[in-house]
Subunit: 406 residues, 2 copies
């Protein structure tokens, strides 16, 4: 007997029929003798409708009230799912965030889970009852409803699995698992049987939208075994686990990309101490995240060039902020380029294998792809290339690192 | 300064624009120096969608889960309304049933309010903040969400007004008030400035759908002054008050009707003691309410005829139940007739004025309308007539009792 948390995302509970299909997956785990807690998202489309209504009231929307409105989406699914499980002859009951309770801080709209009280849940699970928990929501110390922010239902599920000390947290979604690359672009992409937390974390933050970053970080921290799988097929999914559980480790596990990058280059920047701090200070104050940074070697000993990336949506604001500080910073020009893509190779195997970066740069060079910026971490190498090379770069690297399916 | 409860029904909050319009009505009361609590229904159509989803899961729907699903409708409006009021520069916050808390029994789907704790609400109202309360919902001692049943938002509003000792409870709806008769049928129907609780109670239970019966009974019990008015015009509405507040009392205040009646006649029923009990026992067991009853005088001293009414939707079931007991009851035939209407005249003035029934029967007879069954109470006289006479009967009685507008 195991204790399982099953999480069903928006497309997996999009209508009554899908909720009933999901309930059958719950039944399968119960029939196998397992204790089952279920976490649900809002039905696909419902959250957007709620957000639309809230936005319609006006831009001065109050965050606590926004949470009251938006949290109703998961409440609906939660009740319907409990009914659907009961209809299969299995005792079940719903728990809203405040009923569990899922205690959070009071950062409405992006609350963090502080503690999940699981005494009653565990007692009920032990009697064979299925607990259906509304994802994405909690209760602040003020007694008000909070939400965890978009995608927060994954985090709810992992946090619940951690609190319940569950054997596995199954995240049902509309893809069959984690792939070596985006199958819509790389036809030879393969589903991974297993991936490490760290790789998943890099891939999530680099743009692979299978799991929300926060949920992966939480799973890693608490050692929750997460399985990503499709609610539309019966194929096994991808297990996200500790490095020790992976026997044959590839050097690179995946090739990923993010189109949400824009490049800013400052030309003839005064090359003197502290210039970087003076540059990035105003950006940070304006809440603009800077990702990759490269500073050119000064040729004349007095000026230098500096290139960095921000998200596409922050680009215009970043340029404005810099223009405002042009005199103080002393640069001659700003070049803004939204037509770039960040392509990355990720793999914990890099730690023990040298030469990944060279192999990457070599493969791209061979296809005539010009690298604009480079950044690396212990388990990934990212390069910024012109956006038009996205597909070519992905396929080239997928082949170069022996990831192609036979 | 007064303390006002404003309740906005489904059509008054049907979309973002109407919620904003309703918020302006809240502002008007605040600007007038009043303390204001607001009770909201679900946006028109939302409850039906939620009920449809719940019904789609299957007929074995669990009542507590049904409540979880359906209560989400008022939750959405509650948050949106608080935002809309804030957008007008007035401090406001939402309260869900469990947050107030509105304590109810655990009869899920048709819960009764036991107690509303108003300490925090009253404290906030005193600071000038508007409290927006989700109607129709509460929390049982079990900690689970309950709903009061359809139309329960009126009851929520009146109960809150009673608990807060409010000076008035304004029920905003899509009609301008309570009319002497249905204006769609009786062109000369007039809006009443005032009506007594008792009359309103009779009219509500007789089919005038302006206010829910339970809410009127509660208003009467606690002496809550209720005003019914339109959220689409600025005309004054109808005040539902104690008899003592009405100066010039008409004998009859309104003429109302209910099409939701069906007639059952048993012929040649054995005329012996206890036959009525044996007849209505099985119907009561089958949860079928019997309304009007008339037993014919026995002509032969051995058999009699008996006629009674049930709701149209119970008719088939009532016939089945009686057929099953035919042998025991000993009757020769069952005649079922759904084509009937109950027409009633209502007025507390009847208590002190004799002759209302005669005037009613005379007026109907003059138009050739055959009365099938009669029932009376202290302040109303009801007759069952063939459904095709509905309009004629209403207009005839409206004129006969001097209710026509000039």
């Amino acid at each position: 007997m195991a204790r399982i948390v099953q999480k069903f995302g928006g497309t997996s509970v999009a209508d009554v029929e899908r909720i009933q299909a999901a309930a059958l997956r719950v039944k399968a785990e119960v029939d196998a003798g397992n204790e089952v807690a279920v976490v649900v998202s809002a039905m696909a489309g419902v959250t957007n409708q709620l957000v639309g209504w809230a936005g319609g009231i006006g831009p001065r929307s109050d965050a606590p009230e926004y949470d009251v409105v938006v949290a109703s989406g998961e409440q609906v699914t939660c009740g319907l799912m409990a009914m659907a499980i009961q209809a299969l002859g299995i005792p079940a009951r719903s728990f809203l965030g405040w009923q569990v309770p899922v205690r959070t801080d009071d950062a409405h709209g992006k609350a963090r889970i502080l503690k999940i009280e699981t005494d009653e849940l565990a007692r009920r699970l032990a009697t064979g009852e299925v607990a259906v928990v509304a994802g994405f929501q909690g209760i602040a110390e003020s007694g008000r409803v909070t939400t965890l922010g978009r995608g927060g239902s994954d985090t709810s599920a992992v946090a619940l699995a951690a609190a319940l000390n569950a054997d596995r947290c199954d995240i049902y979604t509309d893809v069959e698992g984690v792939y070596t690359s985006d199958p819509r672009i790389v036809a030879k992409a393969r589903k991974l049987d297993r991936i490490t937390y760290e790789e998943m974390l890099e891939m999530a933050s680099l743009g692979a939208k299978v799991l929300q970053t926060r949920s992966v970080a939480m799973a890693m921290r608490y050692g929750v075994r997460v399985q990503v799988l499709s609610s539309f097929t019966d194929a096994p999914g991808t297990l996200v686990v500790d490095e020790g559980e992976i026997v044959e480790q590839q050097v690179v596990s995946g090739v990923t990309y993010s189109r949400d990058e824009a490049k800013v280059t400052l030309t003839q920047l005064q090359d003197r101490p502290g210039v970087a701090a003076r540059l990035f200070g105003p950006l940070a104050e304006a809440n603009i995240n800077v990702d990759m940074i490269v500073q050119n070697v000064s040729v004349d000993g007095q000026t230098t060039g500096l290139t960095f990336t921000v998200t596409k949506q922050d680009l215009d604001r970043a340029v404005q902020v810099l223009e405002g500080a042009r005199e103080e910073l002393g640069f001659s020009g700003i070049l803004a380029d939204p037509n770039v893509v960040k392509v990355s190779v990720v793999g914990v195997g890099m730690r023990s294998h040298a030469g990944v970066a060279q192999r990457m740069f070599g493969a791209l060079a061979e296809k005539g792809i010009n690298i604009q910026v480079i950044s690396t971490s212990e388990i990934k190498v990212s390069v910024l290339v012109p956006e038009e090379y996205t597909e070519l770069a992905l396929r080239t690297l997928h082949t170069a690192f022996d990831l192609d399916a036979e």
